[in-house]
């Protein structure tokens, strides 16, 4: 059943596969983000209470959901790496951590910028905001652990354990607005059935959301490739790749 996956356990195959899908992902990201952001920022109707301030929604919500989505991806990679001792999974987890941390920071900063005019405060220690801040600290911890050991396998194991322990934070972030009284509102688009948003505001969101998903995949692909190269730098295939690249540079220079 999983036989088709086996060739990708080879770093060289995975490296070339990631390189092959990279231009497609970049094109899709550019397409969806340019349509989505222009539509969202210039043409979507303003909200009846918040006016134009609500447009930060189109960046805040994708960033916040992706901050959790990337963490889930990282946790799955950490799990496979711990159980199957699959080295590439560590490389992919290390590739995802800084991207996830960046999107968590974007969600927190855009949220604060919206909170000041709408709520009347930049920050409040309610369950949603606090748990999202903890997610940022978890990411920073995972990044630190990946860089704390000379031995990449040991580093992957330590970071993987922290990632798996932190996974408990994901349902807390997601359901914090339902379990407790919070200042943060409930979710608008992820409700099953009917989203609490009119259709002409929702479509640009769909485009932005897909665009950000592709953008994240592009970043992760690039980082995954460089992680593979860094971890396999003594292998002959990496050496040939590098010498070919240098030869190419030389002919270009001449």
């Amino acid at each position: 059943m999983w036989k088709w996956l086996h060739p990708y356990a080879n770093p060289e195959v995975s490296y070339h596969f990631a390189g092959k899908i990279l231009p497609w992902l970049s094109a899709l990201a550019a397409l969806f983000l340019s349509i989505g952001l222009i539509w969202a920022l210039a043409f979507a109707p303003a909200d009846y209470q918040q006016g134009d301030s609500f447009r930060i929604f189109y960046i805040h919500v994708p960033a916040a959901s992706l901050s959790m989505g990337i963490y889930l991806g990282m946790a799955i990679a950490a799990f496979t790496s711990l159980v199957w001792q699959f080295k590439l999974a560590d490389a992919s987890a290390a590739a995802m951590a800084p991207v996830g941390a960046t999107f968590t920071a974007i969600a927190l900063i855009t949220g604060a910028a919206w909170g000041k005019p709408m709520w009347g405060t930049w920050w409040i220690w309610d369950a949603r905001l606090t748990s999202e801040l903890i997610l940022l600290f978890l990411y920073l911890g995972v990044i630190a652990l990946h860089n704390a050991f000379e031995d990449k396998n040991l580093a992957g194991k330590a970071a993987g354990i922290l990632t798996l322990v932190g996974v408990i934070n994901l349902p807390i972030i997601k359901y914090s607005v339902e379990w407790w009284n919070t200042l943060h509102q409930g979710s608008t688009v992820s409700k099953l059935g009917k989203p609490s948003m009119s259709v002409d505001m929702l479509w640009p969101f769909v485009f932005c959301f897909l665009g950000f998903i592709f953008l994240v995949s592009v970043f992760i692909c690039i980082r995954f490739r460089s992680e593979i190269l860094a971890r396999n730098s003594i292998r002959p295939w990496v050496r040939t790749l590098v010498s070919e690249h240098i030869a190419q540079e030389k002919t270009n220079a001449v």
Partner: protein, 174 residues
């Protein structure tokens, strides 16, 4: 799956299950304290499960809906008082609802209006007539999850205008 992998899978799986159970219990034990605010009914009657009631003089946050026709603004300064009732869906107000009034001096957030969710930060006080009220030092607006373009909102009968402040009010306030 070979036995070594199976062993690692059980170890990782059981550790994760253990963490899930422990944090579930911790959150359950803390659930009363993670709430950001008391609702008006909780102030007068105590929390639903534990019966914990805030003390007079305690600094608390109160959260609720602004009851229509209770907003009283002093024409000369920034003093304002209004009553809050529990949030519920659909939003209907009733004479029998438990209410707690809030006194505040300062500029209210943009989203403040009747039937809007509000969180106020202040001291629980008992007036000379024996009524409970909150002397607020900060008023925050709680936005709901509904977004609507202006035309649709007007069609649904939802009109929204920001509060106006006269020069006199603003000058006396500060």
């Amino acid at each position: 799956m070979n036995p070594r992998r199976k062993k690692r899978l059980t170890i990782v799986g059981s550790v994760l299950a253990g963490i899930a159970v422990v944090s579930g219990l911790v959150l359950y034990a803390l659930s009363q304290n993670i709430d950001l605010f008391y609702t008006p009914a909780e102030i007068t009657q105590g929390k639903k499960d534990s019966g914990i009631k805030p003390q007079i003089g305690q600094r608390i946050r109160i959260g609720g809906l602004v009851v229509p026709n209770t907003v009283k603004r002093d024409p000369d300064n920034l003093k304002v008082s209004f009553s809050l009732s529990d949030m519920k869906m659909p939003i209907v107000f009733d004479e029998s609802d438990l209410m707690v009034s809030v006194h505040y001096e300062g500029i209210l957030p943009d989203l403040f209006r009747e039937a809007q969710g509000i969180v106020a930060n202040g001291t629980l006080t008992r007036s000379s007539s024996g009524e409970l009220y909150v002397e607020a030092s900060e008023v925050l607006a709680k936005h709901d999850e509904n977004y609507m373009p202006t035309e649709l909102a007007e069609a649904a009968g939802k009109n929204y205008k920001k509060l106006d402040y006269s020069d006199k009010q603003l000058n006396n306030g500060y």
